[in-house]
Symmetry: C2
């Protein structure tokens, strides 16, 4: 009779696990298995791959990894709406061709202006106010912003499978960080609501700040200029500066995440690098090598050799949108 | 009989509190009372001053607040030792008068060179290596470094009352951060051991970083130049960038902490600002307005009006050193 007890226990454990599938929106397949195996290994104190809680750092890109990024980064939709509003109050704010084009909805001219034009639009719309006012404005915009093509609320366009992954990891003692090329202050305005990730765990690109006392009240203002570009090699540097530990798991979707994945998976012990591949033209979008947002080329080529899991959105995800 | 029960309970609570004094190295007096009253108010769910755990942020200066800073910042002692070693291996590293003076122990010339000289010495000794190597070197130095006057191990010169305060706050649901004008990477090399504060909760001045792949191995190097000066107005800006929330409690000891105290205590609700005043020439040092390290002048004048507690080291602290 004695031998039955461990067996019964084993069944109970297996049954318990099956009941409490932490990733219900993920199809059973190689991606899900890789995630669960990794998490079980690093959290098993008897495993050679065990990692203590303090070192369970997981970093996630935002645009195209935690929420959608087509046809343009959502922060850019916010910037355009904001620019239009600013121009209504004071037309002289449109002091260049690219700003005029952006306010007119002439996205062809804006696109042609490249990163320089984008930074100009971000610069004008993301400075000249206190951080608190900016945060309030971004929250106000997000509360009603609708996607120009899908006509869904912007905030409903986070990915359900990724929300499940974030929760699963935190339940297993991980600290989850956003590490995004997007603006830190913009992401902070929704990261807690959308992902349960607090401001202190949002690493992103930063403008300049200025401290002053106005009429006796201290204030932190957003001022022009880029202080830190958290993209490409900036991602491992942002991780070092902000977290000070190398992640053991990193997830991205574009070449902008290449160095974060490389830095993460080159560490000692068991590591997991993961790429969200946008393969679902019906439910979301299908794009990679030739896309102007979320270009995935070099990292896609490197994935097999580097051992990075490539998540096939169409086949690996039962459900796309959180609908939150 | 019924009225006796609450009374007995009250006695038990009071007795329990007395038994478990969280601040045994603090004399019973105004400073300790102010701390305990503040903590009890913000953690009492029935109080108007209640603050949820997620907002219980406490920030601490390091040099002169958590450990000593006389006769010069300990990081500077490290830099000088390191410079001497570097010069032994390659004398050409001493490429300026101030570097030569520093390696010769001519502290008069070094002092006369002011902040510019100090930054030059820090620059030369804190760049040109990977962050991992720098961390290992700092740890090696700290393991045996002795104070030039007190002949105590440097790591034993943290303040016992402040260690108790950090632990007390964390036990009460606070997140404790270091916010220092000193170098972030240097502080990170001991913050976990000394204060139980992890790398991610160390805000400090930063040099530049560079990411590269050497012989197939990704690496983050410390490169010359100051990226961020976390002093004076830099402190609230560093807090905003790294934490993204305004602290409800801040502790410093010099004018370099003025803006951090101002930013913290200007927030809504109950706040606590605290200044460690070095008044103990026998057990530690006595200095304030005229000191070249930890100059405390403007903040000392402002304290009464701002409601900042001034901790009198000599009379408020039963014990100074942690002896750790």
């Amino acid at each position: 009779m004695r031998t039955l007890l461990p067996l019964a226990t084993a069944f109970a454990v297996v049954a318990g696990m099956a009941l409490a599938d932490p990733l219900p929106s993920w199809e059973d397949g190689a991606s899900k298995t890789a995630i669960v195996t990794f998490v079980e290994n690093v959290t098993d104190p008897t495993s050679d791959s065990f990692v203590p809680e303090a070192s369970r750092i997981a970093t996630f890109d935002n645009d195209g990894t935690l929420w959608a990024e087509k046809p343009v980064y959502f922060q850019f939709l916010f910037a355009i709406d904001r620019l239009k509003e600013m121009a209504k109050a004071d037309p002289s704010v449109l002091s260049s061709d690219v700003l005029k084009a952006a306010a007119d909805g002439d996205m062809k001219t804006v696109a042609a202006s490249g990163e320089k034009g984008l930074l100009e639009i971000i610069g004008v719309t993301h400075s000249g106010m206190s951080v608190d006012d900016f945060d309030a404005d971004a929250k106000t915009w997000l509360a009603t912003a609708e996607h120009p093509q899908k006509h869904m609320p912007i905030t409903s366009m986070t990915y359900q499978p990724m929300l499940e992954l974030l929760t699963y990891l935190r339940d297993e003692g991980f600290r989850t960080y956003i590490v995004s090329g997007g603006g830190m202050d913009f992401i902070r305005s929704f990261s807690d609501d959308a992902y349960n990730i607090p401001a202190s765990q949002v690493v992103g690109s930063m403008g300049n700040y200025e401290y002053s006392v106005k009429d006796g009240t201290p204030q932190i203002d957003k001022t022009p200029g880029l202080f830190f570009n958290d993209d490409k090699t900036g991602k491992p540097l942002g991780i070092q500066a902000r977290i000070g530990q190398r992640p053991i798991l990193a997830v991205g979707n574009s070449d902008g995440d290449f160095e974060m994945l490389q830095w993460t998976t080159a560490g000692d012990g068991q590591r997991l690098g993961m790429i969200v591949h946008h393969t679902d033209a019906d439910r979301e979008w299908a794009y990679d090598r030739d896309s102007h947002v979320g270009k995935l080329d070099k990292a896609l080529d490197a994935a097999p050799d580097e051992g990075w899991i490539v998540v096939d959105m169409k086949n690996d995800w039962k459900r796309i949108w959180s609908g939150k």
